[in-house]
Structure formats: structure tokens, C-alpha cells
Amino acid sequence: MLVTRPDHEIVTKYCCIWSKDIIKLANQKSIAVYDLKGKKANRKKFESYTKSKNPSLIFFNGHGTTEIIKGYDNQPLMDGQSIPSKSIIYARSCDAAQSLGPTLIQKGLRAFIGYMRKFTFFYDPAFILKPVNDPIGKYPIL
């Protein structure tokens, strides 16, 4: 499993922190996890890992549009021009299921799980320095 989790601002920071449990669970199940956290969530590293490791699952966390999924500092990680492997993608990114998902499926991606609208969650600003303690931030509502 390849995980991308930039953490350059509040929204990505929350998604980054709340991905830890998934990584922990994967580790418990002896699933190899390649963790592109923070600045490592860039296109160069992403493409290098997808080519060399050929992950069966790619779990994106980061901003998105109908056409692209972004990494650290909102730099593009994947777009319709990317050559997908036979992976399954779960993209915790806005809007990417509208156009990018179907495009990648046409190019041979095994499955794309994503969102047709903006990814949305509530949070309490009192916990922005420690999102993991935010009692409401762990519940995405869309």
C-alpha cells in the first residue's frame, strides 16, 4: 500500500494525522506500507514508488480537483496523463471521482474510490496543534 499524506496546512494536517490508524492497521496485518508523508508527498517520489513497488492499493490524502490529485504544497501528484498501474485507488480528495477517476479507469486502473464533491469535515480550532485529540475532527461528513 502506498499512502500520500501531505501536511502543509490545516486540512491536509487533519487527513495526515487521521490516516495513521489505517497505516497502523495495515502494519498489524503485515501489509507493506510506503508512507509519503509531508514533503515526501511529491510527484517525483510518488512516480518512483509506483513504478518500483507497484502497490496494489494507493491511498491519497490531499487536495484535489475534477482533474488532478495534489500533494505537498498543492503540487500535482496524479492527473489524467499519469500512467496508472493495476492498482486500486482510494482518494480522500475533493471532486476527483468526477473526471479523473473515470479517465484512469479507461487507462487500465483496477478501481477508483473517490468523491464527487468537496471533502468536508468539522473541526475544533482549539485542537489545530493536536488534531489527533480533536473529538469531532475524526468524522468526515462527506
Binding site: I10, V11, C94, D95, K118, F121, Y123, D124, L142
Partner: protein, 84 residues
């Protein structure tokens, strides 16, 4: 999924139903603690921002209405409590 989409479209295209849904969403947001924030994509809003967006029925306001509708549908279908 298609049924849900159809129902959402039916409600949004009916001015009476749309106003009723809007009133429910505004009441829900009104009881929200003032300190909470909501992240919608790359934007962040406080309670007052959210109320204005809902009143204006812009993209953010409509998304809040769609989410409320989804929540009510899940509540009535039992999906929300199915795992308990």
C-alpha cells in the same frame, strides 16, 4: 445511488421542499457551537459564514443541504445505526 440522486434533484427542483430543507439545515447549523469550523475542500468556514452560504444557496450552501438530506435518508433507512 441513482434513486438518491433522483430524490435530491426532485427536492431541489421543488421550491417548497427546497425551502423546507433549507430551514432544517439552518436550524441544525444554528445550534452548532460557535467555536466549530468546517473545512470544505480547501476553504474553511465558521458558523456565521456557513449560515450565509446556506441562505445564498451557493455551492457551499447547497453542499450542506445535500449532506443534510443524505443524513436524513441514512437515518430513515437505518443505515446510520446498522453497525450498532
Amino acid at each position: 445511488m441513482n434513486n438518491q440522486k433522483g430524490l435530491t434533484e426532485d427536492i431541489f427542483s421543488n421550491p417548497v421542499f427546497r425551502e423546507q430543507l433549507k430551514a432544517i439545515v439552518l436550524e441544525r447549523v444554528n445550534v452548532m457551537p460557535k467555536t466549530l469550523r468546517i473545512a470544505v475542500g480547501s476553504e474553511e468556514f465558521n458558523k456565521n459564514d456557513l449560515i450565509e452560504h446556506i441562505k445564498d444557496e451557493d455551492e457551499v450552501g447547497k453542499q450542506m443541504m445535500v449532506m443534510e438530506l443524505g443524513f436524513l435518508q441514512a437515518l430513515t433507512s437505518g443505515a446510520i445505526y446498522a453497525h450498532e
